[in-house]
């Protein structure tokens, strides 16, 4: 089961704007195996969504992947033609977006949008495609799929719509799913239903899943491995237990502390002081330096990554000495 599915090395996605170059993603490394769920965590603007879009070649201009390699099952996606990428998207690599309100076309039936996705990658008749779509809807727990397939997106609730999006992602039994904050717009009970559903499907189908989220809590519940992003870089990575129990980077510590906990009742919530740096005015050296209580002169230069691709961090002042790797 530990076949490597995706290897991203030194990925850089930059936006050339009149005011300067925005380095949205600035040297990201990722590894993902089959059957693995990786949580990619960070604040808004940390570059986590752009990382997801970069993998599929879906970065809108003026954004551009300027450096690095994306190996998907050994194939370099950066060198792939548009035609090849189009063939992979929705077939081998599927994506689930944040807001199911906005991603399904409001003027087309759910069935139409599912059937077109089936037929974009498989040479089947409309009737067969419809049957596949109906089965996929049933699999994600949509009641009466035979009827609901002819409904329009606005006739579904938010949670049901996101189930539809998951069903669409599963249509071709992809090798990799990139989910960009798919449960953020949902209420908590629906969220946990969908999380356990996704976990089950990933395990059963042996897919790789990259779960992009700002919510460390959700990722802790769902993923095996976590990568924390800050200002376009991965600042800490490891298994969920490693990262949550012994965070090395002060930023990760801050994220964990800002989660509301049972025994903090009545206490003011802890927060990370300051804001994420603006994309055009990132500080020299460690980008977290202005918000960090541990910063010293050493932090004026850029920290390199300590450790390896299974457990690593970028900090001159790691919070703890690793006891066991």
């Amino acid at each position: 089961m530990s076949e490597t599915l995706l290897e991203v090395r030194n990925l850089k996605t930059w936006f050339e704007t009149p005011k300067g170059t925005v380095k949205a993603v600035d040297g990201v490394d990722l590894t993902l195996n089959r059957g693995e769920i990786l949580g990619l965590v960070g604040e808004s603007g940390s570059g986590k969504s752009i990382t997801g879009f970069s993998l599929l070649g879906l970065v809108d201009p003026p954004g551009k992947v300027v450096e690095g390699s994306i190996l998907f099952k050994g194939e370099d996606l950066r060198a792939a033609s548009n035609k090849r990428l189009q063939a992979l998207r929705g077939d081998r690599i599927a994506m689930i977006f944040q807001d199911p309100m906005m991603t399904l076309n409001p003027v087309l039936r759910i069935g139409t949008q599912m059937i077109e996705t089936v037929r974009a990658h498989a040479n089947v008749s409309k009737a067969e495609a419809r049957a596949m779509a109906r089965d996929a809807l049933g699999m994600v727990g949509i009641p009466r799929p035979e009827e609901r397939i002819d409904a329009y997106p606005h006739e579904f609730s938010g949670g049901m719509r996101q189930r539809v999006a998951i069903a669409i992602a599963l249509l071709h039994k992809p090798d990799l799913i990139i989910a960009d904050e798919p449960t953020t717009a949902l209420d908590v009970t629906i969220q946990s239903q969908i999380l356990s559903e996704v976990q089950k499907l990933t395990r059963e189908m042996g897919m790789g899943l990259i779960w992009i989220s700002h919510d460390l809590g959700v990722v802790a519940e769902l993923a095996q491995n976590v990568a924390v992003m800050y200002a376009g870089r991965i600042v800490e990575r490891g298994t969920v237990d490693q990262v949550l129990d012994t965070p090395m980077h002060p930023y990760t510590r801050g994220l964990i502390d800002s989660l509301p906990m049972e025994n903090d009742r009545g206490q003011p919530l802890k927060q990370i002081p300051g804001n994420a740096p603006p994309p055009l005015g990132r500080p020299e050296g460690c980008p977290f330096r202005p918000r960090c209580g541990f910063a010293t002169d050493a932090c004026l230069s850029e920290p390199s990554e300590t450790g390896d691709l299974s457990r690593g961090w970028r900090c001159f002042h790691p919070l703890a000495q690793e006891v066991t790797a």
Binding site: L58, Q86, L104, N105, V107, E116, A120, H154, I168
Partner: protein
């Protein structure tokens, strides 16, 4: 749906009643048709006789009531000039105008939509700039001047197309139309193009803006992420979304096209209602003017109804609310 249509019919009757009153008063105020209909040396006796035969000797409220009661029976009076029922005179000419107007609507879609899509897909490109500059010309040059230029180029210099008249017509499926003969068709081209100019420009602009507003939306990106072809995204996902504003505007424009047809029909000597109404106003042919305006108002009401129905076909969200 039944309630909806019933309400619209009641609204329509109210609108028609009010318009008929306004138009009747307006035409009455313009002047006395006797001055134009009678020779200058007519005697008082002749005057009185003609006035009585046209019911012009009655007081205004009585004239209006007479008009309404016979209009309700489908009689809009006889034309003073042609001495035939006013409706008959109008309906004889109306098909020519409707043919001209629908042809130019079709032209504006057939030419405007592809150009708008093309320009919208490549904002800032040479294509975009040229199409947009062209559309400014379509908008801002006076319609009559465009018409004369079309005659100049295609009839005088190139000699490809006839410049005036309707040409031979034939009957297709019971409709009397220029499409039945080649001669009729070539006669239709120039006036239809002339009338369509501003509409083409309008459709181009609406489409281009629509494409540019729709392309960055999440559902387009999601469609790409599902591996759909750019063609399917543009012609199904984007086009269906932007058709809603285009249908709205064209519905409204259909009415003003009939109005603008006056200019085009005059330039190209097209025997439609536009030319008829201008002549009738000049002659103070009261029944024809009143009947014409009521016919046009009825058409406006019908067009609006059609647009509303089209809306609900295009946008499922409206359908479930109705």
């Amino acid at each position: 749906m039944t309630v909806f249509i019933l309400r619209r019919v009641l609204q329509a009757i109210l609108v028609l009643a009010i318009t008929s009153l306004i138009v009747f008063l307006g035409v009455y105020a313009i002047g006395d048709p006797l001055e134009i209909l009678l020779p200058a040396d007519a005697t008082m006796a002749e005057r009185a006789q003609v006035a009585a035969s046209l019911h012009l000797d009655q007081p205004l409220p009585l004239q209006y009531l007479n008009f309404v009661s016979s209009a309700l029976q489908g009689d809009f009076g006889r034309s003073f000039v042609y001495n035939r029922p006013a409706l008959e005179v109008i309906f004889e000419r109306l098909p020519a105008t409707l043919e001209l107007v629908t042809t130019s609507l079709v032209l504006s879609l057939v030419i405007g939509l592809p150009l708008g899509l093309w320009a919208g897909m490549k904002p800032g490109s040479l294509t975009d700039e040229s199409v947009m500059t062209g559309s400014i010309l379509g908008f801002s040059l006076p319609n009559f001047w465009q018409g004369m230029m079309l005659i100049m180029i295609f009839s005088v210099w190139l000699g490809w197309l006839p410049s005036t008249g309707r040409g031979d017509t034939g009957t297709v499926l019971g409709l009397h139309t220029s499409y039945a003969t080649w001669d009729g068709f070539v006669h239709l081209l120039l006036p239809a193009l002339n009338l369509a100019m501003a509409q083409i420009a309008l459709v181009i602009r609406l489409t281009r803006t629509g494409v540019q507003e729709t392309m960055p939306l999440d559902f387009v990106k999601y469609a790409r992420a599902r591996g759909l072809s750019e063609r399917r995204i543009l012609f199904v996902h984007v086009l269906k979304t932007i058709l809603i504003p285009i249908v709205t505007v064209l519905g409204i424009e259909f009415g003003s096209l009939i109005a603008f047809a006056v200019v085009t029909e005059t330039i190209f000597a097209w025997p439609g209602v536009g030319k008829l109404i201008i002549d009738s106003i000049n002659m103070l042919d009261r029944p024809v003017v009143v009947a014409y305006i009521l016919v046009i108002v009825t058409m406006f009401i019908l067009i609006n109804l059609i647009v509303d129905v089209l809306y609900s076909l295009l946008d499922p969200r409206i359908r479930s609310r109705a």
